[in-house]
Every structure is written in C-alpha cells, then in structure tokens.
C-alpha cells in the first residue's frame, strides 16, 4: 500500500507507466478544434403558407456511441426565431449560452418593442461562424435558422465555414441527402410555399424524420418539432398587430414505423442470398 494519500486512487506507475502530463503543460501551443466530439445529426425544416416547421432528433452521439438521448437541438432565440443545430453539441451550447442569450437580453434593455427577428439572428450567427473559421478555430456546427421575418416565413442555413444559403426546404447532415429530395417533391421552389398548408408541411417533415431514422445510424426515434406561425392580434387601440407564435412538440416518438424495406436490402450482415 502506498502511504502517500495524494497517490491514492491514481494509476500505479509500476503498472501503467508514468502519467504523460505533456498535454497539461501551458507551454503547449493553443489547440483549436480539429474535429467535433459529441455530435448531433440532421436538422430538417420546411416553409409553408404562413410559417415554418423545423425538427431535430434528441440524440447526441459520441462517435458511434449514442451518448445522450435527451438533448434539445432546437432552441428558441428571442421572439421570432428557432435555431436548429447539427454538429458539435458543446459548440451549440456555447453559441446559445455565451452569445445568443446575452445578445437577446441586451436587445431587451431598450424595452422599445423592437425584437431581433430571424434574419438578424441568422446574420449574426453567419458572421460569428465565418469569423471563427477565419481564425482557424471553427464552431463545428451546421445551423438552420427558422422564423418569421418582415411579414414572411424565414429559413436559411449557415455552417462552420460561414457558408450561407437559403431555400424553402432545407436540411443539414444526412438530411441534405435523404430529406431535402423528399421535401422538394412538395416544395420545389419559393412559389410553391404558398400552396403548402401547415398540416402538409408538418406531415412532410415527420416523414423525413422517419426516413432519417431508417437510414441514419446516428439518429434517434425521439425528436422535437417547432412550428413558427404568425397571428394577428388586436391591440386595445384597435390596430391589428402581427405576433409570432411558436408551437413546440417535444419528445415525439416516431409513429407507424415499417421496417419491411429492410428485408430487401442485400450486402450487409449474415444473409447468404
């Protein structure tokens, strides 16, 4: 038995070798993120007549390990916006807790009835992401920003490189391959948005979440969905005002799964024929 308490509970040098403390040294160069650690997979979103619907599952993976199964990757930012994040979860939490939350609080100091809208949040995030990639210290995320902006539904994407684009149907990660083609069937372009009802949009996104669960090994059957719509509120002075309404559906379990298609798959596992 070792009689030095500071050595108790530590790996024994004679068994495991001397602990390599080189990574603790402060003289080491600064380390920047070179790859994500705990990650979220796809975020799926679609515009419809009068709003946007956005969804992401609740899984945070550690490599191929399903590490956390109750992670919320959609978050409301201010009154008009939902930000959905794929990629590194700690970077997502940094974005929200250290950047967006204080930003929103500061915006509310004025108390002037002005709120940051989806396009403002989106532009801010794009600039942060591009700035960080330009410092070779990226925030390892792909973000979808969904919300209401200036009388129109808003949906746009920004990634760790600062690449930005907008379309009426968007998805990050595997969703870009699997979900976007499905969504584009009902929403090929901006003009089509007008003819899509809220119910159709939600159903399409739910279908995408199912397809993603079938084919994406880093996905989960439990997910969250948020629907951003606009409603007219009549104020006491009799003027109609626009108000943004965000409806949440959390802990949704995928319904009506059918794995029949899997029987037709050949080339994996133990089957011989």
């Amino acid at each position: 038995m070792n009689h030095f308490p500071e050595a108790w509970g530590r790996p024994r040098n004679d068994v495991y070798g001397v602990y390599d403390a080189s990574h603790l040294q402060s003289s080491m160069p600064n380390q920047h993120t070179q790859s994500p650690i705990v990650t979220g997979t796809s975020v799926v979103a679609l515009k419809f007549n009068g709003g946007v619907v956005i969804a992401a599952d609740n899984l945070a993976s550690y490599g191929s390990l399903a590490r956390f199964t109750d992670i919320e990757r959609l978050k409301q930012v201010g009154t008009h916006t939902i930000v959905g994040a794929g990629g590194d979860i700690s970077d997502m939490q940094y974005l929200h807790e250290k950047l967006l939350d204080p930003l929103i609080i500061k915006e509310e100091y004025q108390n002037d009835g002005h709120h940051l809208r989806a396009s403002h949040i989106y532009r801010y995030l794009s600039k942060v992401l591009y700035h960080r990639r330009s410092k070779f210290n990226p925030l390892w995320n792909t973000l979808l920003v969904a919300g209401w902006d200036d009388g129109k539904p808003f949906l746009a994407s920004a990634d760790l490189l600062g690449t930005t684009f907008s379309a009426p149907a968007l998805s990050t990660g595997y969703g870009a391959q699997l979900a976007v083609p499905l969504l584009r069937r009902i929403c090929p372009d901006e003009a089509a948005v007008e003819n899509i009802t809220r119910e159709q949009a939600v159903a399409a996104v739910e279908e995408c979440m199912k397809v993603l669960f079938y084919r994406d090994a880093r996905s989960l059957s439990k997910y969250s969905l948020a629907i951003i719509t606009r409603e007219d509120v009549e104020s006491a002075e009799g003027e109609t005002k626009e108000r943004v309404n965000i409806e949440w559906k959390k802990d949704i379990e995928l319904q009506n799964q059918s794995w029949k298609f899997a029987e037709g798959i050949r080339g994996y596992g133990a089957q011989v024929v």
Partner: protein
C-alpha cells in the same frame, strides 16, 4: 482548384468539413480543418460600347448536393453608381468580398461629398482587398463592371489574390464552368478564329462592339450550354445590365437537373 466531381465519390456529404488525412514526411498522419469549400457556379461578364452585362447562375452546391437554387452571385455595389460585382468560388468568401466592396463604395460616397467611386477606383480597391488577404486568400473569383466617366463600359476580372488588368476586358468568365465558356466568348465576342469569308482564311473578322440583344443571347447561350455539360451550373440565371440609365436585373430559368 480541382472539382469535387474529379475526386472519388465520398459518402460523407460534409466532405468539405475535412481535408483528407495526409501522411507528413515524418510519418505522422495529419488531420487539419479545411477552411475552404467550393460552392460551384459560374459567372460571366460581357461589355458593349456603352453598356455591360454581368450574369451568374443561381445554383449553390456542396459536392453533389444542391444547397439552394436561388442564391444570387451578382451584387450591386450601390444604389445609383452603376457598379456591379459578381463573385464565385467559396460562397462565404465570395459574400465577404462583396460586402467589403459594398461598404467601401458606400463609405467613399460619404467621405467624398456624395461623389460616387469611379469604376477604375473600385477596380483598384478590389485588387487591394484581395491582395491584402494573399496569405490567407479569399477563394473568390471576381468580375467587376461599370461605366467610366465617358459612359464607356468597363469590365475587370481578378484571380483570388487580386491580379487584374487595369485596361479592363471585353469579356470575362469565372467559376466552375469558365473553362467551357471562355473559348465560346473568345469566338463570339473577340471573333477569335473567325475570318472574313472572301479572304479564304487570310483576313481576321474585324472586332466590333456588340449590341445589347446579341449580348443577351450570348449570355443565355453560354449558360444553357454550361448547364448541359457541368453539374454545378443550372437552376436560374441572374442577368444584370448596366447602362447610362441605370442598372436592371432579370432572372430566367435554367435546367434544374
């Protein structure tokens, strides 16, 4: 810059997130964050005597994915100065360069008693911006256009570290399908390899400034052809025309396949 399509098919759609691991000389495997991506697309510019056209497709890609069919690449640098800039390459750098130029042109106006920046000054400024970033280049290929003080069309094109010709050009193209379009413009704008029919190939066809209708046709032909042959070009075509009366824009469809 090699096209993603020239590399073997990867199953990871976020291929641009990674530089493939490489073996360094010491035998170590190096992993490194790659700050660049190629978002595809093509731009062109053609001048006439007193007008200039800049055009770009509106497809935005990552590898084999089409991110958006409606991302414009041609930017007006001010409300009333007739300066237009088209950028293509890495989307984030392209937008950053465009915004830098918009801000510079706007600042110039306020700093010079509401006089607009001349097109030659804007051209030199853009070169300086790109050159100042030469050790971490903006992967943005630019074509800048406008009318000079005599109302004559000016067109400048740049490489990603700011090289450009002060004299300007009559036509330019950049982006993924530029290698398809440049020879076409050589032939149709500069009349390269065209001869006076009666001269039996001895006398080159004289170069004359093109009229707006011909230019519009050339732009559309160039892009429909590029759309056929290049997977990163298509969806929509944004055509911006600068004349003495101002700047006008139209967007026409291209094939979406």
């Amino acid at each position: 810059m090699s096209l993603p399509s020239m590399q073997p098919l990867g199953y990871d759609q976020s291929y641009s997130f990674h530089t493939p691991a490489s073996k360094a000389s010491g035998g170590y495997t190096q992993h490194r964050f790659n700050p660049y991506a190629d978002n595809g697309g093509t731009i062109i510019g053609i001048t006439g005597e007193d007008f200039v056209v800049l055009a770009g497709d509106t497809r935005h890609t990552s590898g084999y994915n089409i991110n958006s069919r409606t991302e414009k690449k041609v930017y007006r640098l001010g409300g009333d100065n007739g300066l237009v800039l088209a950028t293509v390459g890495f989307g984030a750098d392209s937008k950053d360069v465009a915004e830098t130029m918009m801000r510079a042109v706007n600042d110039f106006k306020f700093n010079h008693n509401l006089k607009n920046m001349s097109v030659s000054a804007a051209a030199q400024y853009l070169s300086t911006v790109l050159y100042n970033n030469r050790f971490f280049p903006k992967y943005a290929n630019c074509v800048l256009a406008g009318l000079d003080k005599d109302g004559k069309a000016r067109l400048y094109s740049y490489d990603s570290v700011g090289s450009y010709s002060k004299e300007g050009e009559t036509r330019a193209s950049a982006g993924s399908a530029s290698s398809l379009i440049v020879p076409f413009l050589d032939n149709q704008v500069e009349f390269k390899n065209q001869f006076v029919p009666s001269s039996k190939g001895q006398e080159e066809r004289p170069v004359v400034p093109l009229d707006p209708i011909t230019v519009a046709k050339l732009v559309k032909d160039a892009f429909t052809s590029a759309t056929e042959r290049h997977i990163e070009v298509g969806d929509g075509l944004q055509i911006v025309t600068v004349t003495k009366d101002g700047v006008s824009e139209e967007v026409v469809d291209l094939k979406k396949d």
